[in-house]
C-alpha cells in the first residue's frame, strides 16, 4: 500500500510507479541504463553538479521564470468574481519552452559520463532545439531524429536546430512522427551506446528517464509553489498542465503531489476521442512502448496505433508511467480537449493577456475555460504555460485558413 506520504518517493529501485515503468529495452541498452542511473545518483549527491546546473539555469535559461496573474483571461472566461489564475511562464525560458530544463541537465550528465555524442528525438522541435542549444553550449555532438511529418509542420525549428550545429535526420518510417523518431533514436543509441547519451525529452522511456527528467523539470513546480505563496500567501487549489509525454505536467505536479492540491492533466483529444486523438490516459490501455509500461494507444492485437493532435508536441501514442500511476491511484485527474478547443484557447490567451502560447499549453488553457465557470471565487488556479507559440504560427495560420 502506498500512502500519500511516499508518493513523491517513487519510483522504486526497479523504476516502477505502482505497476508502471520498468525497463523494457533490448539487452544492449541495459548496461547503459544502469550506468546512467548510477551517474545520476552520483551527480545528485555532488554539490558541484547542482551548483553548475543552478548557475546555467539562472544565467543561460533565465530562471526563475515568473508567474503571471491572468485577470483578463479569467474574467473573459468566468466574468466578474472569477477565481484567480496564475500562469507559470515557461514560455519565457531561453528557447521558449520547458524542454530546456531537462536538456541542459542531461547534457551536463553526459559530460560527466564522458559521452561526447548526443542523440535526441523531437516532435514539435522544441526538445530538438533545446537539445541542440545545450549541445552547442556544452560542446557536444548532436544528432536529432524527427519524423518527416513533423519536419514539414515545424520547418522553422528544423532550421533553428541546424543553425545551432545539430544534424537533423528525417525519419520516414511508420507514422513519420514523434513515436517513429523515438524508435530511430533508440536504434542509433543501441548502435553507438558506448559513446552516446540518449537525451530523452519527456518523462517516458525506460528507467531512469522518467525519474531524472521529472527531477530536472521539478524546478517548475518548486518555483511556482514559492512564488504563489509569496504572491497569495497560499497554495493553489488546482494545478493544470498539458500532457504529451508528460514532462511539463510532472514538473509542475511534483512539488504539490503531497499537498491538498487538485492535479489535472490535459491530453490532446485531436478530432475527438471517437476519432483520431492523442489521449492514451483517456482512451488507451496499459502496455509496453519505448521501454516502459504505461498507457498507450493500441489495437486489440497490441499494435501501437497512430496518434493525432494539431500540436506536434502532444502527438504521441504513449505517456509517462508516473502519470499512469497518478491516474490509477486517483491522485491526479486526466481530461482531454480537441484541436478546435485548443485553437480557441490559443486565441483567447493571445487576445486577453498579450501572450501567444504554444499549441500544447493551449490545451491546458482550453480546459481552464471549461473548468473556471464551475469554480468558487476563492479557488486559485495555477496553469503551466509550457511554451510560447512562435513555432506554431504556420500551423495556426493553416488551421484558420490564413495564407502567410
Amino acid at each position: 500500500m502506498t500512502t500519500t506520504a511516499d508518493r513523491s518517493a517513487l519510483p522504486d529501485e526497479r523504476g516502477y510507479f505502482g505497476g508502471f515503468g520498468g525497463r523494457y529495452v533490448p539487452e544492449t541498452l541495459m548496461p547503459a541504463l544502469a550506468e546512467l542511473e548510477e551517474a545520476y545518483r552520483a551527480a545528485r549527491e555532488d554539490a558541484a553538479f547542482g551548483e553548475e546546473l543552478d548557475r546555467l539555469l539562472r544565467e543561460f535559461v533565465g530562471r526563475p521564470t515568473p508567474i503571471t496573474r491572468a485577470d483578463r483571461l479569467a474574467e473573459r472566461i468566468a466574468g466578474e468574481g472569477a477565481p484567480r489564475v496564475y500562469l507559470k511562464r515557461e514560455d519565457l525560458t531561453h528557447t521558449g519552452a520547458h524542454k530546456i530544463n531537462a536538456a541542459l541537465a542531461q547534457g551536463l550528465l553526459a559530460q560527466r559520463m564522458g559521452k561526447p555524442r548526443i542523440v535526441a528525438e523531437t516532435g514539435a522541435g522544441q526538445h530538438g532545439v533545446a537539445t541542440a542549444t545545450a549541445c552547442a553550449l556544452l560542446g557536444l555532438e548532436c544528432v536529432v531524429y524527427m519524423g518527416a511529418e513533423d519536419v514539414r509542420r515545424q520547418a522553422l525549428n528544423v532550421f533553428r536546430m541546424k543553425l545551432l550545429g545539430a544534424e537533423v535526420r528525417t525519419v520516414e518510417s511508420g507514422s513519420r512522427t514523434l513515436k517513429d523518431a523515438i524508435n530511430e533514436a533508440i536504434r542509433d543509441w543501441v548502435t553507438n551506446v558506448r559513446t552516446t547519451h540518449y537525451l530523452l525529452g519527456s518523462v517516458v522511456g525506460p528507467h531512469p528517464y522518467p525519474l531524472l527528467v521529472r527531477d530536472f523539470q521539478a524546478v517548475i513546480g518548486h518555483e511556482a509553489r514559492a512564488q504563489l505563496i509569496e504572491a497569495e500567501g497560499r497554495l493553489p487549489s488546482i494545478a493544470l498542465a498539458c500532457v504529451g509525454g508528460g514532462s511539463n505536467a510532472i514538473g509542475l505536479f511534483h512539488a504539490f503531489v503531497d499537498d491538498p492540491v487538485r492535479l489535472i492533466g490535459v491530453e490532446a483529444a485531436g478530432e475527438g476521442l471517437e476519432g483520431r486523438h492523442a489521449a492514451p490516459l483517456a482512451a488507451g490501455a496499459p502496455g509496453v512502448l519505448h521501454g516502459s509500461r504505461s498507457y498507450l494507444l493500441q489495437d486489440a492485437h497490441g499494435q501501437v496505433t497512430e496518434a493525432h493532435s494539431i500540436s506536434a508536441g502532444l502527438d504521441y501514442p504513449g505517456v509517462g508511467p508516473e502519470h499512469a500511476w497518478l491516474k490509477v491511484s486517483e491522485r491526479a485527474e486526466y481530461v482531454s480537449v480537441t484541436d478546435a478547443e485548443a485553437l480557441a484557447a490559443f486565441r483567447l490567451l493571445s487576445e486577453t493577456e498579450g501572450i501567444i502560447p504554444a499549441l500544447e499549453p493551449a490545451h491546458a488553457l482550453a480546459h481552464l475555460a471549461r473548468l473556471l465557470p464551475e469554480l468558487g471565487e476563492d479557488e486559485l488556479v495555477l496553469v503551466n504555460l509550457s511554451g510560447r507559440g512562435d513555432k506554431d504560427m504556420g500551423t495556426v495560420a493553416d488551421a484558420l485558413g490564413v495564407t502567410l
Binding site: G22, Y24, E27, T28, M30, P31, S173, V288, H301, G302
Partner: protein, 271 residues
Amino acid sequence: MTDRIAQLFERTRAEGRPALIAFVPGCWPEPDATPGIVRALLEGGADAVELGVPFSDPLADGVTNQAAYQQALDAGVTQDDVLASVRALREDGVSAPLLLMGYFNPMLARGTASFTRAAAEAGVDGLVVVDLPVEEAAELAEPARAHGVHLVYLLAPTSTRERIAAVGEHGSGFVYCVSVTGVTGARAQVSEELPAFIARVREHAALPLAVGFGISAREHVEEVGRIADAAIVGSAVVQTISEAPRERRHDAVRGLMERLSGRATAKAAAS
C-alpha cells in the same frame, strides 16, 4: 513432451557442427507465405526457424525487417496468424524447432498466460522477446515454463558479468548472443569482439550459445561455428525473399540455406 531444441543441440554437437537457425518474418511477404518458406529453409539446411511476429514499433530491428513487418501489418497480419502458420507446419509433419521472435506488447495484449498456452498448442518451442530483459521477464517466463515453451534471453557485447550470470541462471533453450552493438541487418564481417564476448558468456552460462545479427555468408557461419553452438541468419533471408520473383522464391531460399549450411560446397565436391 519432447524438447526439440535440446535434441537439436545434442545432434549438432554429436555431428561436430553448429546448428543453423533461420529467421523470417511470419506471414510475410503474403499472409499465407510462411509454411512454404519454412519448408524451403529446412530443405536447404536450416536446423530450426524463428518466425518474426510483426510489430508496429520494432526498435531493435534495422530497415530490412522493419519494412517486412510493416508490409505484414498492412496486410492485416496478427500474432494469431503467425501461430496458425506454426500449427499448419506441425500438422504437415514438420518436426524442426520453431520459435517466435518478437516484441512484448502483442504478447501482453493477449495476456501472457493465454499467449503461451496458444503458442504451446500451436507447436512453438521457444520465444525470443527482444525488449524483455531478464529482470522484467517473470510474467512471461512462468507461464512459458508451465507450458513447456523455452524463453530464450539475449545477451549483447555490452552485457556485464552480472547480467550474463543472470541469463545463465534463468535462461532456457539457448542464449541468443547478439554479435554486435546494433540493430538487425546484414553486415560485411563478423564483429572482431565476438570471440571475447562468447568466451565471457561461456564462463557463466552452460546453455548452448547461438550468435545472431549480421550473419549472412558461409564464412560467417564457419567463424561462429568455431566458438558457438549455432548461427542465426535473418536479414539475408529477408533480402533473398524480397529480391526473388515469387515463383522462384522457394528455390532461392533453399539455395541460400544450402550455401550457408555448407551443403552447396559438399554437393559440388561430390559431383
